[in-house]
Amino acid sequence: MASINESTVTGNDGEAWNEAYDRTLNFLHTFALSDHAYVSQLAVDLIHEARELHRQDPSRDPTTLVMSHLQNRLTEWLAANLDGENRLRSHLLAIGTIALLLSRVYQTAPTSFLASPPPEELRQALRETLLVTGPDLNVSSMTPRHLDYGPMLQFARQTWHRLDVKELAIALVFWAGVYTVFYWWLSQLL
């Protein structure tokens, strides 16, 4: 990855700006703009702008500074294109980015990305994109109807909820008796 303006930055400062450049380039790549030269140029321009800002406030980290600057540029650019100055920033970025994606700006007009002023056709295309995520709710009440489980429920309730050792023992003795009688009867029969 190329470093920038080696003659003016040195040591740790140089590494920090290299990192800032790499980060900017990686971030711009996520927009999948088809004009790679434009992306590189944009990254260099953004770094230059960030260096100007850095001179005014040297305490800020170059990566943080350039990315903050880039996000601001992107927000302003989208707001201008979508007439969305009053929207919450996260809403605006989400709507704007979706509009960028659906209008295929990354492929059809990559050099208009962050360009000021943007071409009128682009503004039109961005405004026309509409994401329908779901139809309006039409709420129904769906609740289970009463179902009488019949004799098994009575039987289950009697065995589950009132189970005690004495009753269990009586039941076991009773059924052992029934099986014995049944065994004897079948033996006689067959």
Binding site: A94, T97, L131, T133, G134, Y183
Partner: protein
Amino acid sequence: MNATTPHTDDFVVRRSVFLGLSILLTATGFVLMLNSYSGQTLFWEDYVCIGVFPLLFSQIAVGFILALFGFFDRLRGGDPHHLMRRPWREKEDSIPLAATAIVVPVYNEEVDRVSKGIANMWRSLEKTGQLEHFDFYICSDSTDADHWVEEECAWLSLCQTLNAFGNIFYRKRRHRINGKSGNVADFCRRWGKRYRYMIVLDADSIMTGPTLVRLVRAMEANPEAGIIQTQPYSVLGQSLFRRVLQFSGKVYGGLFSQGCSMAQMSSGSYWGHNAIIRVAPFIEYCDLPLLPVPDPGKRHVLSHDTVEAALMRRAGYGVWIAYAEPGSYEEGPPNLSDMLTRDRRWCAGNLQHFWFLFAREIEMGSRLQIWIGLMAYLCSPLWLIFLITGSFGAYFRMRFLMLSADPEDLGAATSTGAGLLLALTLALLFIPRLLGILTTLPRARQFGGTFRLLISAFLENLLSFFLAPVLMMFHTLFVLLTISGWQIKWNTQNRADKGLTFTHCLALYGWLSCLGLIVYPIAAFYLGNISLWLLPIVAGWILAPLLAWVTSGRRLGMLFRSWGLFVTPEEVEPPPELQGLDGDTDGEEPATPSPLWVQALLSPYVQAVHLSMVRQGPANGAAIPSRSLVTLRERLILEGPQALNPKEKLRLLWNGETVFWLHQELWSRPGTKLHPGWIQLQADCGKSRLLSHYLMEK
């Protein structure tokens, strides 16, 4: 009751013939069974056998009668009273369609396969010219963050590619209440009023446009119909196991469905997918009641379809099987292990249906369905008990005869009753299969030709023969686990023919081999020649690991296909709706190792799609994250995405503000304040599969 389902006199005759013949055959078997004991001394083991036998034999008898009904119906050219053959078919094209939702519940499924299936159905509907009446709803219950984010991108891709914004919708449930039935109910509560019908699919279901349209018209023409279930045929199999399953389903499955439809008419089955449902009565009458068990965690009905069909019948609407409608497909389990995973789930569900067997106001036909479903799994432990007690009984009898050395007793042991019973059992088991083959013979060309069809059928029978004892043991285990109260986890069905490792097969089925190797020598020692009866069962156990391993492989399945064996019509002439769905991964790049969900935090496009789907905070941005959420966010940034467990990932993704905040932070923090893994993820973000495969125009 809002609708009435007309029952003809014919219906009464059919049902009485069905029940009468089933009872007659069972009684015949029982008499032969008793006859085989005549003149012999009985032991307690014999009484157990005698007690269990009618239950087991009745299942064979019912299967035989259903196949016989199906065969008869095919011979006469179909049921003239069936809903799909009524006069409306003559003016079918003039029947206007009503608004219909196609509901696709998904749960950690293979996203690409699901979206391709939806795209194929969409295009098929488009060709019918009736697309305007249909909307698709992808209702996700996925618990895996990667799946969730991929589903969102796939949804956008579908809308973009098909120009389907406003017709294909994606909904992710936050709380996965009541599994699939809860997911469908959630759709009904939110959007059910917008539609007169819904067609419920499984994630792997495919239905052709003409079939979808015909189902809506059938409902429009028959207002008393509540559910019409199509017969989905298993397709796209590549492993030997799946190809054998789809072959048997095609040769025998239709016959049983046709028989079932003839016997049951408007009290037919609903299998939970590939069926059209009248939404209003479904909302009003078919919400599942809670089971009356003490543990609140176990009150939910696991297997919803049979109960919903019973409730629909209870409300007076008909449930029909459209057995003859083509264009309804699904994918089966690719190997024995996956089939057992599915069976474990079904077993737990079917056993719960016991509660509805004796519930009041449930129709007789529904009770029959519930009973058949119950016995499908209860038969296994009963069969095992029969085998064990039968073997012990035989041993004691042999000892008794040897000790008594009475010639009359020895003569009694060779009773002809046993031989007749064996002949009858084999006839009831194999005649349905023969009938299936007979009805397939006129279409043998679609199955690779007569010779190959017969060879395939023979091999399929052989495989079933060896697998049956394996299934018996596992089903017995499932029944015991269910009764003992072990929770059944609802796993995603694996549909990829990836094959099983031999180690896995040994670990899962090795105990059966050991059991077989121990049991048979003991049986041979004590029972002598009688132990030969156990040989087929023991052979199945011993071969289980090998069978599971060999049949799971794709290579062998495709080899058999190249030989023209287990061929189905959908393989000979694949319908356009199935094209591109075969999951052939040859030549494709391997799946990206980086987690997909982090793209919702890094990629602006993926993040934007995600944020448009989850609720974001108030417009003034004043939402304050909880302390635990703040800690979680910092942990993600400093320890990397692998530091979070699945629930934590979902928690972050559900919070729109957090997703946005993390996006800003991950890109703007210097490398020293990030986990090193993030730097590589940032560098790879522009090459993410989500972008190249779904979001970027190809």
